[in-house]
């Protein structure tokens, strides 16, 4: 046993030159970067061909680039009012998402733990959650506008109410699925409630919690764009609506690309944190 283990832990000999690193880099470029670039070029080409005829309703990519070049190279201008660069627009949206999502994380994990731990809470709350979670995000907007009398907290509330359901549901499933063995270990060690929560429950449920957090962040980003279209002000959602009213289709297309990229980055960030935190947890 110990022999094989020693053999495993022998470190790799240090590379004599940079060649292996260059080789690795080349492999990554060929396998990971090249295929999506090729597909992008192909799709862009098709789009260019389809939209190049004089009567086309949408601009081809070359024209989008020409129309929006000022916006691309100058993302942080501020001419007052809503006339701000794309960077500011996105940051404004991200700020709302950050507030709403953070509240959803705190409330969602707490409620999820409650529902996962207590059979009575499960019986009482679960049916309510199951009904409320099917309500579309934007349907909450009028009622929250009526309640808060102000657009910013309303948008934050919409994010909150959108992101919270998958967090609650996944957390409660994770807590309910903590193996009996871990509970027994905790009982033999006589861990108190707080120690059990920190040492056993959170790590054991972490893979579930993080899948809820990941779904939640995706949904918040989906909801903010729609909510901002309605509430106005600075933000990528209203930017799109504004561009539509001004018939600046190229601006809309650029904004859509940015929205997609930001959503992708948000998803990856939560996934990365989840991977770091739950390392080793999912496997027995």
């Amino acid at each position: 046993m110990s022999v094989s283990q020693r053999a495993d832990s022998v470190t790799q000999p240090a590379p004599a030159s940079w060649t292996p690193y260059l080789q690795d880099l080349k492999d990554v470029l060929v396998q990971k970067v090249l295929p999506p670039l090729l597909i992008l070029a192909l799709l862009g080409g098709i789009w260019e061909i389809l939209c190049s005829s004089p009567g086309a309703a949408l601009p081809p990519p070359s024209q989008v680039l020409r129309d929006t070049w000022d916006l691309i190279i100058n993302p942080f201008y501020d001419y007052g009012g809503n006339d701000k660069g794309m960077g500011w627009q996105i940051l404004a949206s991200l700020e709302r998402v950050a507030y709403g999502y953070s509240l959803a994380v705190i409330a969602g994990i707490s409620l999820g733990v409650l529902v996962g731990q207590s059979t009575w809470a499960l019986r009482g709350l679960d049916p309510v959650f199951q009904v409320l979670r099917t309500v579309p995000p934007l349907a909450w907007l009028p009622i929250s506008l009526a309640g808060f009398q102000d657009s910013t907290p309303s948008a934050i509330f919409v994010i909150f109410i959108t992101a919270i359901w998958p967090i609650i549901i996944n957390t409660s499933v994770g807590v309910r699925n903590i193996p009996e063995d871990y509970r027994n270990v905790a009982r033999v060690l006589r861990l108190n409630g707080y120690e059990y929560f920190i040492r056993i429950m959170l790590p054991a449920a972490a893979p579930y919690i993080f899948s809820g957090l990941r779904i939640g962040v995706g949904l918040s980003w989906l909801a903010i764009v729609a909510a901002e279209m309605l509430i106005g002000g600075v933000g990528i959602g209203f930017f799109i609506w504004d561009a539509w009213n001004a018939s600046m289709i190229s601006d809309i297309i650029l904004a859509l690309i940015y929205v997609g990229i930001v959503g992708f980055i948000l998803d990856r960030m939560v996934a990365y944190v989840g991977n770091r935190v739950t390392r080793g947890t999912s496997k027995g």
Binding site: D181, V188, E195, I200, G280, K283
Partner: protein, 283 residues
């Protein structure tokens, strides 16, 4: 009544599910001396693990009591540490941290940080795991996980160590190896141990007394066999020892002649069906 170290007194256990009561254990009495190694053997489903869980305090007996060192057992605690069959290490903690969780909790007030650290290392060294302190459970083999489980249980300095089929999930070679380790550690520490097993050789090789449970429902202590073999024991020389073979046969006779496992329903049904088919062919 004599003052015993651990006594299990008239323990009954009845589980009720959906209004149906099923008695698992009936009137179990057992006295264990300090430093004694007891093996509990019986067919699967006879309630061995239930009995161990009652001693551990993880479940409460319907009636009767377990008294350890003058105190009645009502809930689980570090004075009765358990080595679970499937190791039950926490997968997000390293080998060191798994043992540290137990040690730091058990000796939080009585030992300094440095003492606790040294104690963790000593216990892991005792089971031969010093080389893998910072590995996670999924990076080590099944046998190694069980070693860590044993180290964690030993490190709590329990009054009685409870082993729930500790080697059941391991391959034969690893199992033999770990049995040797447990014997070696037992020579050194003289712990009081109760081990659940269904392996006759393991029971005879390791224990001072074998408690044989009858088949459930309402299992009770069928026979108790004293194993009077000198320690340290060696499985190879014992293989030719007539006493060893005698003890083995005693246990086997109990398990396979007196307490033959009732044919399970599925098998019986299959036999009936094939008999019916045969008759049909004849007709």
């Amino acid at each position: 009544m004599t003052a015993r170290y651990l006594s299990i007194e008239q323990v009954d256990m009845t589980f009720s599910r959906a209004g149906v009561d099923s008695q698992v254990l009936k009137n179990i009495n057992l006295n264990v001396e300090r430093g004694e190694y007891i093996a509990i053997i019986g067919h699967s489903g006879c309630g061995k693990s239930t009995l161990l869980n009652i001693v551990a305090g993880l479940i409460n007996a319907t009636s009767g009591a377990v008294i350890l060192d003058g105190k009645e057992v009502n809930d689980p605690g570090p004075d009765r540490s358990v080595v679970f069959q499937n190791h039950s290490l926490l997968p997000w903690l390293t080998v060191y941290e798994n043992v540290a969780l137990a040690v730091n909790k058990t000796f939080a007030r009585t030992r300094s940080k440095a003492e606790r650290h040294a104690w963790i290392l000593k216990n892991l060294e005792m089971v031969g795991m010093s080389a893998a302190l910072h590995k996670r459970p999924d990076e080590i083999s099944g046998g190694m996980k069980q070693r860590v489980g044993i180290a964690r249980a030993l490190a709590m300095e329990p009054k009685v160590l409870l082993l729930d089929e500790p080697f059941g999930a391991l391959d034969a070679l690893t199992r033999a190896h770990l049995q040797e380790e447990v014997m070696r550690i037992q020579e050194e520490l003289h712990n009081t141990i109760i081990m659940i097993t269904h392996d006759v050789d393991e029971a005879v090789l390791l224990s001072d007394r074998i408690v044989m449970l009858t088949n459930g429902p309402s299992a009770k202590v069928g026979e108790i066999l004293d194993i009077d073999l000198p320690r340290p024991r060696n499985r190879i020389t014992l293989a030719d020892d007539p006493r060893y073979n005698h003890y083995r046969q005693e246990v086997l006779r109990f398990l396979y002649e007196k307490q033959r496992k009732v044919e399970d329903l599925a098998e019986r049904r299959r036999k009936e069906q094939s008999a019916a088919a045969l008759e049909k062919e004849r007709a």
